[in-house]
Amino acid sequence: MRYLESVLTLEFDAEQCNGCGMCVQVCPHAVFRMENGRAVLADRGACMECGACARNCEREAIRVRAGVGCAAGVLTGLVRGTEPTCGCSKENPSACC
């Protein structure tokens, strides 16, 4: 299954890549692939913006606006005037997850 691809925020600066391969390891949707010792974007459209690759990139070559792809979370954020949140916090553990 694929989702809306045109609005994705994932950006990869190949110049900065040191070929550690961490992004390939952590991505749950095989967005990255190793090619000649460097990472390349293999399937950008499959990105779900979880942010794992960016967090584990020591060279900060990856940028993505990470967040929860959850409509209820976006609504909660709107109501509370905060960032989209799925509500699973210490104060409000009645969460979806």
């Binding site: 994705l8 792809g69 799925c86």
Partner: protein, 395 residues
């Protein structure tokens, strides 16, 4: 303290055995007080004594699941008592681990711990449970509670560097959203190796010398994965559907002359049933048929499902004796309300999936929410107007 047997005392109240109000009296209560706070608890139904280490005793958990664990899992999946499905964070043992045994990191959500220990029969390992406030690994990692700081804190608190001789932590891949491997190494000297997404692949991963196959790194979202989410989907949205149904049931009594209880049993009842059917249709069929429904936006998939449901019910009802539903205005009303409901319900399913992005969800909500609200509002107006027309005709 009244929810379930898995409830463990918080660090604050710290009373050993406070979870014993469920008839499962802790077996080894007194020993708990000798254990450092930073280690796990030994007085749970899944405890299995302690393992002695240089630093002190480490509680051991059973490396297999009992029927009791499975019943509890079903309960939590259905949304009963899920808020208290926590495990005391800290270090645990499985089997008879040595300083060379691997360290597996997980969240203090009991389903996460169950998944992990369920695949470890016959193995020796250490399990480091992070405090994620009872939330699973992926969601907690997204929040950052399953994160670099908590991991480093737990490693230090458990004196892991004195318990194991190696310097490797196996973190589930989905925890990578919150954990920075390079920062963990810098902060506590331990190297993070990301394990497979699914616990079931863990034995193969360990046997292969901590190597993941590409397939182990992919998140799946098959029919089975979607079906287990249906009970929660139904129960979490059910109360709103029931409220809406009750409101329509009462409104059904409206007529040109004021209000008559007779209408509640006819128009009101039909409306209430229609709303509940629309909700159930979306909450059950939506997740199951997800790949088959047209469009990429979930709101579009949901609307399509709703239109199909309306078409189906009109086809069935069309041949029945002229009921209230045959007033064209009510048909139009339901043709708007049902897709609006199913569109919204399926749209909220984005939060349960493994492939929707925040940007995508925001994008679809920008056009879907106004459309859903408009369709529902117009539909409701038509329905109320229809009530007056029916009332006018039958009186």
């Amino acid at each position: 303290m009244d929810r379930g047997y898995w409830m463990t005392p918080t660090e604050k109240d710290g009373t050993p055995g406070a979870g014993g109000d469920c008839g499962c009296a802790p077996r080894t209560v007194p020993l708990q007080s000798f254990l450092p706070r930073t280690l796990g608890r030994i007085d749970t139904p899944w405890s299995d004594g302690v393992v002695t280490t240089e630093v002190g005793p480490v509680p051991r958990v059973r490396a297999s699941l009992t029927s009791r664990d499975r019943i509890a899992t079903f309960r939590v999946r259905s949304g009963i008592g899920r808020d208290n499905y926590r495990v005391a964070p800290g270090l645990y043992a499985v089997g008879n681990p040595t300083p060379a045994s691997p360290v597996l990191v997980t969240a203090n959500y009991k389903l996460s711990l169950d998944r992990l220990r369920g695949v470890l029969p016959g193995r020796d390992a250490w399990i480091l449970v992070l405090d994620t406030h009872g939330i699973n690994v992926w969601c907690a990692a997204g929040k950052g509670t399953f994160g670099t700081n908590e991991l480093v804190r737990r490693v230090k608190a458990a004196a892991l560097d004195r318990i194991v001789s190696h310097r490797t932590l196996i973190v589930p891949q989905l925890g990578a959203t919150g954990v920075s491997a390079h920062l963990v190494r810098r902060l506590c000297g331990f190297r993070v190796v990301y394990g497979p997404v699914r616990a079931e692949d863990l034995p193969a991963f360990l046997d292969a010398g901590m190597q993941t196959l590409p397939e182990m790194r992919r998140v799946r979202f098959g029919l089975r994965d979607r079906v287990v989410l249906v009970p929660f989907e139904v129960l979490s949205g059910g109360r709103y559907a029931l409220l809406a149904a009750a409101a329509l049931l009462l409104l059904g009594g409206l007529n040109p002359h004021g209000y008559a209880l007779a209408g509640v049993g006819t128009a009101g009842l039909v409306a209430a049933i229609s709303v509940l059917c629309a909700f159930l249709c979306a909450a059950i069929l939506g997740p199951m048929l997800l790949p088959l429904l047209p469009g990429r936006a979930f709101s579009v998939k949901g609307a399509a499902l709703g239109v199909a449901c309306v078409a189906g019910s009109l086809a069935v009802r069309g041949s029945s004796p002229a009921g209230l539903h045959n007033v064209w205005m009510h048909r139009a009303a339901w043709a708007l309300i049902v897709p609006a409901i199913s569109s919204f319900v399926v749209m909220t399913f984005t939060g349960c999936t493994t492939f929707t992005s925040l940007s995508g969800v925001k994008r679809e909500m920008r056009f879907a929410v106004p459309a859903q609200v408009a369709a529902a509002a117009i539909g409701l107006c038509l329905w109320v107007i229809g009530l007056f027309l029916i009332g006018g005709r039958t009186s």
